[in-house]
């Protein structure tokens, strides 16, 4: 049976949930396949996450390894392959709670950076798990800035080997997943030295553990880096190398090679390296960033129609907390944002596919735009979704803080996405560099990529809206975002130029403008997200009410964006104070409209209860019963703690002095 408070929400849906789900999946056939995969995984008890919240780091790690090994068996049974269409659904069904994710990166880096012989040698071994790989780039003292890495690989021509070393503590490899306990091999990045000359950072395959008994190889110090905010299942590791020798053939050499006599040969374009980073960034946006916010919205919104608190009208029953405007203002903009980001992810995929086709034809022209977009959107979306998940957590009152709500672990996991694969501020500044360059080009009449052509026509203006309904017109708000982004980029470019002309060194001028540059990059990405949402809505079929509800969400996303960044829209008078009041009024009106469809809108994400793993967010809405049942399973209740006999008893019996 379903809690009547949540059942009633579903009866009044203005659209077909099933059709929206299919739209999100990319077609009904995809939905069917996803459900089949999820079903197969969830009915297998080996993959259960039931007791996850009660487990220690050691137990979580062991479970992740167990699941990863079991998954190999399962995949053979089901006929799934690593490059098959089912694979992404497997990851979703497991909620990423599985070991050997870095093993895949290990394989991918060999495929991309290795020569044909290297691929032929290592990939079969890796795919049969004869070895387990990791990917060791980051060091204790160095993260995003690759050139700063300190690990060294010195070529010894007499033995035809590289000698790898960790010259000081800050050069120790730190953070790589699967490396603390599991991996037998890793791709380690090190500064290459030949005959005393440094050639920069290169990748080397290094064996770190014995294939027989898993003990550490000579010269290797490796272990787990200790507890983190999340990722308890992953053995993020450290690695210290002392005169570790690897054969010359272990340097990945698709793009550069060291010949037997020590001659360094470079071949092909290095730009493809960027492409790999871009690929990783784009793929993480969907799996690691958007999905968690979808889950958090599902939990928080379902809970908010079950939870009742205080009274809206005297004499009535306590009201559902989702009926409070302040609760709507917390949750519904997150819901709108997660749809906006789902569609921007489609946009990025499209951009990516186009660039990929060009690269196949050896045309790298689209790479700068792709790189700038993947950086900027990774930063914008991860930042927005992270704060969105936290808002959801805190919108669930006290119960949100219980691990059993599922929200704390969603939060502690998603926050890592603001840092890994490029720290967000640095990424925004990369996007800003691209934008400034395009602005300069556009101002001097040169051609620029399609997403930034708007920079060519920056002009002062005023928003034409006359009443609050005008702000429900996508043209009106898209233009406001466009105007603001263009203004922020052009004014920052002007300030940069002024500083340089006044004699400030270029790099200094850049550093002095970085706060504005980051803001400008965000404004650009925000604008593209709004524009893309509006265009997507226009393309949607009108059937089953989907277009209408998506239009509301698009309006809400845009108006919430203006409302919460009012200053930059008012600054040059593009919007007047009176217009800002209209924006606010329209924005608040929309909350009440979307409120009616809130539960169907999260139902459409189609997460199973097992996947949500939340006492607050289950489909049937039986929150309190579940919370009580789960709590009773806690080891603090099922196992006897020595605390009573050892400490409480003497305390209560006043025999403390005997302790």
């Amino acid at each position: 049976s379903v809690n009547p408070d949540i059942a009633s929400e579903r009866q009044t849906a203005s659209f077909s949930v099933e059709k929206l789900t299919a739209r999100l999946d990319g077609g009904a056939e995809q939905t069917r396949m996803r459900r089949a995969v999820v079903e197969a995984i969830e009915c297998d008890p080996e993959f259960s996450r039931e007791n996850q919240y009660f487990q220690s780091q050691n137990e979580r790690y062991e479970a992740a390894v167990r699941k990863a090994t079991h998954l190999q068996k399962k995949m053979r049974e089901m006929g799934w392959t690593e490059d098959g269409p089912e694979y992404k659904y497997i990851y979703r069904a497991l909620s990423g709670d599985v070991a050997f994710l870095l093993h895949r990166i290990f394989m991918r880096s060999i495929s991309v950076l290795g020569s044909d012989e290297q691929i032929a040698k290592w990939i079969p071994l890796a795919s049969q798990y004869r070895l387990i790989g990791s990917y060791a780039q980051t060091e204790l003292g160095h993260g995003t800035y690759l050139q700063g890495l300190e690990t060294t690989a010195v070529f010894d021509s007499s033995t035809q080997e590289f000698i790898l070393n960790t010259p000081k503590i800050s050069a120790m490899k730190w953070w790589p997943g699967d490396m603390g306990r599991s991996a037998t091999h890793t791709v380690a990045f090190a500064q290459l030295y030949i005959h005393g000359k440094c050639y920069g950072v290169h990748p080397f395959i290094v064996q770190i553990r014995s294939l027989q008994d898993h003990s550490l190889c000579p010269g290797i110090t490796a272990g787990d880096i200790g507890p983190k905010m999340n990722f308890e299942h992953s053995d993020n590791g450290y690695l210290m190398l002392q005169n570790v020798r690897v054969p010359r053939e272990n340097m990945l050499s698709k793009f550069c090679e060291v010949q037997p006599d020590g001659t360094y040969v470079r071949r092909g374009s290095q730009q493809i390296n960027y492409f790999t980073m871009t690929t990783v960034r784009i793929s993480l946006i969907s799996d690691e960033v958007i999905t968690p916010l979808m889950k958090a919205c599902t939990i928080a919104i379902r809970y908010s129609v079950v939870r009742r608190q205080s009274k809206l009208k005297p004499g009535e029953q306590e009201a559902k907390i989702l009926d409070y405007q302040t609760q709507q203002e917390k949750l519904l903009p997150q819901l709108a944002a997660v749809y906006a980001f789902h569609f921007i992810n489609d946009y990025l995929q499209e951009l990516f596919n186009r660039a990929y086709r060009e690269i196949q034809r050896k045309n790298f022209d689209t790479l700068p735009e792709l790189h700038a977009s993947s950086s900027g959107f990774k930063a914008l979306v991860s930042q927005h979704c992270t704060s969105g998940v936290e808002i959801c957590l805190r919108a669930c009152g006290g119960h949100g803080y219980s691990l059993l709500s599922g929200l704390p672990s969603l939060y502690t996991k998603i926050i890592a996405s603001c840092i890994y694969e490029g720290e967000n501020t640095i990424l925004l500044l990369q996007t800003a560099r691209f934008l400034i360059k395009c602005f300069m080009a556009a101002s001097s009449g040169q051609p620029v990529p399609p997403s930034v052509t708007y920079l060519a026509a920056v002009k002062p203006g005023k928003c034409p809206a006359k009443n609050k309904l005008d702000f429900l017109s996508p043209d009106i708000y898209t233009e406001a975002f466009e105007h603001t982004a263009a203004r922020l980029i052009s004014s920052t470019a002007a300030e940069l130029q002024d500083l340089v002309q006044s004699g400030v060194k270029k790099h200094d001028a850049w550093n002095r403008c970085t706060v504005q540059l980051a803001q400008a990059a965000k404004a650009h990405c925000h604008y593209i997200t709004v524009k893309n949402f509006a265009e997507t809505v226009e393309r949607l079929e009108t059937e089953a009410g989907i277009q209408k509800i998506m239009k509301h969400l698009c309006d809400l996303f845009a108006l919430h964006g203006i409302f919460s960044n009012a200053g930059i829209f008012l600054h040059d008078g593009y919007l007047s104070g009176a217009q800002m009041d209209m924006v606010t009024a329209s924005y608040l009106d929309l909350l009440a409209v979307i409120r009616k469809d809130a539960v169907p809108l999260v139902d459409a994400f189609d997460f199973t209860d097992k996947c949500l793993n939340s006492a607050l967010g289950s489909y049937d809405g039986h929150v309190y019963q579940r919370l009580y049942e789960w709590a009773q399973k806690s080891p603090t209740n099922t196992q006897r703690s020595p605390a009573y006999e050892r400490y409480l008893k003497p305390l209560l019996h006043n025999t403390l002095s005997k302790l």
């Binding site: 004869r130 204790l140 787990d224 983190k228 840092i419 709590a631 006043n654």
Partner: protein, 666 residues
């Protein structure tokens, strides 16, 4: 650990400071003598071998609970042995013992004992207070239920009086009525003060407090009719056994209802209390503590992030030069220095509230309740304002530490999970903001109807009285000098007045359109929260600016003035929409404000490390490898990691259990 030498970067930073950090520490502590005493107590704890233990990050939840119980027991004994009785000194001692974390006896010491003192009759005090003082009785305070939090009247637990046996029969009639969350309830306590709806002579008399024994003295087993346990793992708070409590026809004697105010006579006659305002006192007190806690938690996070940013080098600013300290990047300064300024601002606000509470509670004891409503409204809003800001600030500090901030060795994850529930407990923040708004709207309406208002809302008196149309009107014009804290206080005042007026008018407009007051209130609540925030922001800026004139040392006053300006101007730059729309600042002035913020970042940079040193957190208390005073970060991260539970054996058992069999099969 290793390296007695201080990291060279930190050494240079400290040498370049323009003021003496100790002098600022004295100001934060409230005088040199108090600093001395604090450090004395700190040393008592830190040098005591009884309080040493393994890094808690490596322990399981059960182990952490056990360790906390061990320390709490010793703490109570030693506090008495040392004769420490002053509330501030107890707070310091406890905070050093538990290193800023909550502990299982918190509710016993902080709620159970004080409630006995304020609400028990002399007879009840005889029966319960000394046993509780001697810890034969350990109690907690069970208010919140699974289905009911901030809205007290919604609680469902019942206490039905049975005159035949002169007992109350306690019941948890539904799943939602199970008591849920009280600290120390799960495993530690043998008694609880339970809040329940009192039924006598067939009538409900509302919420009352009852002393309920829950576990057998001696065996500690739950009593018949009592179901009690731990609510399971949470986001932090591993040391605390937050618990559940279900009661089935559980009987307690009539004398166990706390009857200093309301009473039930043997025949079941109910005697009403004289005033119900008094219960506000405790809430105001605890909320005022949260304001101070916001300051301290944010200070700790800032200490870690700023020291680490002085030690960490990354990328290049100038081509060809060595990697610079990340603290030299404008974006890093922009993340951290406004938070540093905020931490100082909140310290002064915390001290102000504490003082005001002490003054007013003196008046309350003499029967003067006139200032209570304003204090109540002010602490509610400031509790929400400071805890929201600090909560976000702690996260910002963590992210400013890059990947390493995410490791528990940074200490910031722990600060965060310990602090973040204060956004919810003791009054959910949005609800708190709306309580403040209620007071603001009431004050505004008083002004409109010709009365004068006093205290922190007296700026509302300046609002012109003839404006009745619902449209927004430009705020009173103020000439803002952006280099002058006093002038910025005026700007914030104007902004608050403008938003309070706007919210009050929107509320009135809704009332004109609709029948129900509650509906109109709900439809205006986003505006009302904004008004409250603006009011609180104004109060913070005002109190910070006021503090400057009290500082006698010129060098210290100079750095605090820079921080005060940074706090105020950064706040404007984040709320430019309000200041522009209200017509308080022009476009050109906003550009100047943004420019000046950037200039201040460069100025504060010189003293950043000294400014966090002034918070004077001992390394043991800070609990952070990244934030160590000596800055020897990397060596110690390695030492720390070696102790990880996953590293206990060279080859993890899962290799034999899973990896090897898989390799054999594939």
């Amino acid at each position: 650990g290793s390296g007695a030498m201080m990291n060279a970067d930190l050494q240079r930073e400290r040498a370049a400071a323009t003021f003496q950090p100790e002098l600022l520490t004295h100001i934060l502590d409230g005088g040199a003598e108090r600093t001395r005493r604090r450090k004395e107590i700190e040393a008592l704890v830190i040098n005591d071998p009884d309080f040493q233990h393994e890094d808690l990050n490596f322990l399981s939840r059960s182990q952490r609970y056990e360790e906390a119980i061990r320390k709490s027991s010793l703490m109570v004994m030693k506090l008495r042995e040392y004769g420490i009785a002053d509330p501030d000194e107890i707070y310091w001692f406890k905070s050093f013992v538990h290193r800023g974390r909550p502990e299982p006896l918190d509710l016993h010491l902080g709620m159970f004992l004080p409630t006995l003192l304020t609400q028990a009759t002399p007879e009840q005090q005889d029966r319960f207070f000394m046993p509780a003082w001697n810890l034969e009785i350990i109690g907690t305070y069970a208010q919140t239920e699974m289905g009911h939090g901030t809205h007290l009247r919604g609680l469902e637990t019942t206490a039905t009086y049975d005159p035949a046996t002169q007992e109350f029969i306690l019941n948890s009639p539904t799943v939602t009525s199970i008591k849920w969350w009280p600290g120390g309830l799960g495993k530690t306590s043998n008694h609880a003060i339970v809040l329940a709806q009192l039924y006598t002579q067939g009538q409900c008399k509302g919420l009352h407090a009852f002393i309920v024994p829950i576990r057998q003295l001696g065996t500690h087993e739950p009593l018949p009719g009592i179901t009690v346990g731990d609510i399971g793992p949470k986001f932090g708070y591993d040391e605390i056994d937050n618990g559940y409590l279900k009661m089935d026809n559980f009987r307690i004697p009539r004398e166990n209802m706390l009857m200093k105010y309301a009473q039930v006579e043997p025949d079941g006659t109910y005697v009403k209390p004289l005033s119900d305002k008094l219960t506000y006192g405790t809430m105001v007190f605890i909320r005022s503590l949260i304001v101070g806690d916001s300051a301290r938690s944010l200070s700790r996070a800032c200490t870690i992030a700023i020291r680490y940013s002085a030690v960490r080098h990354q990328s290049e600013l100038k081509p060809g030069e060595p990697e610079p300290q990340i603290l030299d990047y404008q974006t890093q300064q922009y993340k951290l220095f406004p938070l540093l300024a905020t931490a100082y601002a909140f310290h002064f606000v915390g001290a102000y509230i504490k003082q005001t509470y002490r003054r007013i509670s003196g008046d309350i004891n003499e029967g003067d309740l006139s200032e209570l409503p304003e204090l109540h409204a002010l602490t509610a809003g400031l509790k929400a304002f400071t805890s929201w800001t600090a909560n976000a600030g702690i996260e910002e500090c963590r992210m400013a530490c890059g990947g390493h901030g995410y490791s528990r060795c940074s200490g910031i994850p722990d600060i965060y999970v310990t602090f973040t529930p204060s956004c919810t407990y003791e009054g959910e923040n949005t609800v708190m903001m709306l309580q403040t708004a209620r007071f603001l709207v009431k004050s505004y309406n008083q002004v409109i109807s010709g009365q004068r208002v006093t205290g922190m809302v007296s700026y509302l008196n300046d609002l012109s009285r003839q404006r009745v149309q619902p449209q927004h009107v430009a705020a009173r014009t103020v000439t803002v000098r952006i280099n002058d804290p006093v002038s910025l206080v005026e700007a914030y005042k104007a902004c608050a007045a403008w938003l309070v007026e706007a919210a009050a008018k929107n509320l009135q407009a809704e009332l004109n359109h609709r029948k129900s007051k509650e509906d109109a209130w709900n439809r205006t609540s986003v505006d009302l929260v904004r008004a409250s925030e603006a009011h609180c922001h104004y109060v913070v800026v005002k109190l910070f600016a006021a503090k400057l004139s009290e500082v006698s040392n010129a060098a210290v006053r100079a750095v605090l003035t820079e921080l005060c300006l940074l706090y105020a101007l950064y706040g404007i730059s984040k709320k430019t929409g309000d200041f522009l729309q209200a017509g308080i600042l022009s476009d050109a002035q906003i550009t100047q404000v943004n420019q000046h913020v950037k200039e201040l970042l460069a100025i504060v940079r010189a003293n950043a490390v000294a400014l966090v040193d002034s918070f004077d957190f001992h390394d043991v208390h800070l609990g952070s490898v990244l934030g160590r005073y000596d800055g020897n970060v990397y060596e110690n991260m390695f030492e720390w990691a070696k102790k990880s539970p996953l590293n206990k054996t060279q080859v993890h058992e899962s290799f034999h259990k899973h990896l090897k069999p898989m390799q054999a099969k594939l």
